[in-house]
Amino acid sequence: MEILKEISESIQQGDGEKVSELTRQAVEQKIPPKRILDESLIGGMNTIGERYKAHEIFLPQVLLAAKAMYAGMDVLRPLFLKEGMPAVGKVVIGTVQGDLHDIGKNLVGIMLKGAGFEVIDLGNDVPPEKFVEAATKEDATVIGMSALLTTTMPVMKRTLELLKEKGLTGKIRTIIGGAPVSEEFAQQIGADGYGYDSTNAVECVKRLVLMQTQ
């Protein structure tokens, strides 16, 4: 359908007003909201993700597209009131206790939502107990933890230990990221994944969700 393609293209151009207007028109044309969401909004962001990976565009254009996508989601959200926005998985994210840097975590959250995930953002300075409690309560598949300080990286390990104590290792998957964090550190503490940037984190979360559903 032409209008679905137009919405996707408007997302890629970062034109939120046009996305909003076209999404409204698509709804009026009785196109199922789930189809608009999957084909136009998530589809548009998937294309953006591919172009970003290919270095055709850079972070600012990705974020302009994300804002435009959110404008479309705002139109669709009331239509999913009963059953909630359909999501490919639920992820709890936060910056670990003692750390107030949340730009990186925010970017991951934005990209995850763009890929169709439901994101529970716990903010910054999040203790291990809060990560585990929120993931359990929300029935989340993945916990994503961010740290920008070497001194706060041990909180990631403590969260994994708490998951183990509660018998949740393997039931709730974990991904970590942030400037001082590395693949080696992730392996060392037993995290299921490591995201070196926001798009890589999304790919990793997709893999983890797939592992859980298989």
């Binding site: 970062g14 850079f58 972070l59 600012p60 254009q61 974020l63 302009l64 994300a66 804002k67 959110y70 206790q97 003692g98 750390d99 107030l100 840097h101 730009i103 925010n106 970017l107 934005i110 300080l149 070497t150 001194t151 706060t152 400037a179 001082p180 590395s182």
Partner: protein, 247 residues
Amino acid sequence: MRKILEIPVDEIRPEEDAVLETQGIPSGQELTEDVKALLNRATDLYLGLSTPRAIISDISIPEFADIYHGEGKNEKDTPLDAIFRKTDSLALFAVTIGERVTKKIDRLFQANDFALGSMLDSVASAGTDKAAGRVESRYFDLLSEKGEITPSKGVLRFSPGYCGWHMSGQKKLFEFLRPEEIEVTLLESYLMKPLKSISGVLVAGDKEIFVFDDSYPFCSVCKSRSCQERIKALFGESRPNRKKGVV
């Protein structure tokens, strides 16, 4: 000497390349109109909201040796450990651009204005670094006024969390410097508030004492590697080619 420095905002406008690098945009890349507009808006916001201030306080070599030892968590072999003992003058410093920029970034993200929020964060980080560079210059000027440094010498800054100096070094540094006077505080995790702040030591001395190669074990995991650029800037075009530990 203990001094509060007011830094004019127009002195801490960051270089475009430094900002774009943190946005993942390589140097020399032609910018699209939307990215140019974002950069201009973010820079205007940064210049309008920043309140750059710094504090410096002289410290002797033995006093600094204790602060540098900190909680005993530094790497075994570090460049600063060798450098500060050869210095003419040392001063602890903290510099901040204030809290208003960080609050604005939060508000932009809450309003889904991610691109501008992220760009403002990059501008503010590069700007804070520039402010720290201004503190280096001002310290050089202050020493010059007292006749304690000559143009052939240089000043370079080092911060906890870099070059093998453990983050926990912030504790003793803050106890000595007391930067609360410029409203910079330290959290238990050794993180500073406002977030856009830098603390450390200013080292003044012969330029040769600063030369080291980035071949320490911890250098391999360092994602910044700005040390070599800063050493190079100190020498201008005349930096001697030298390996670690060899003059």
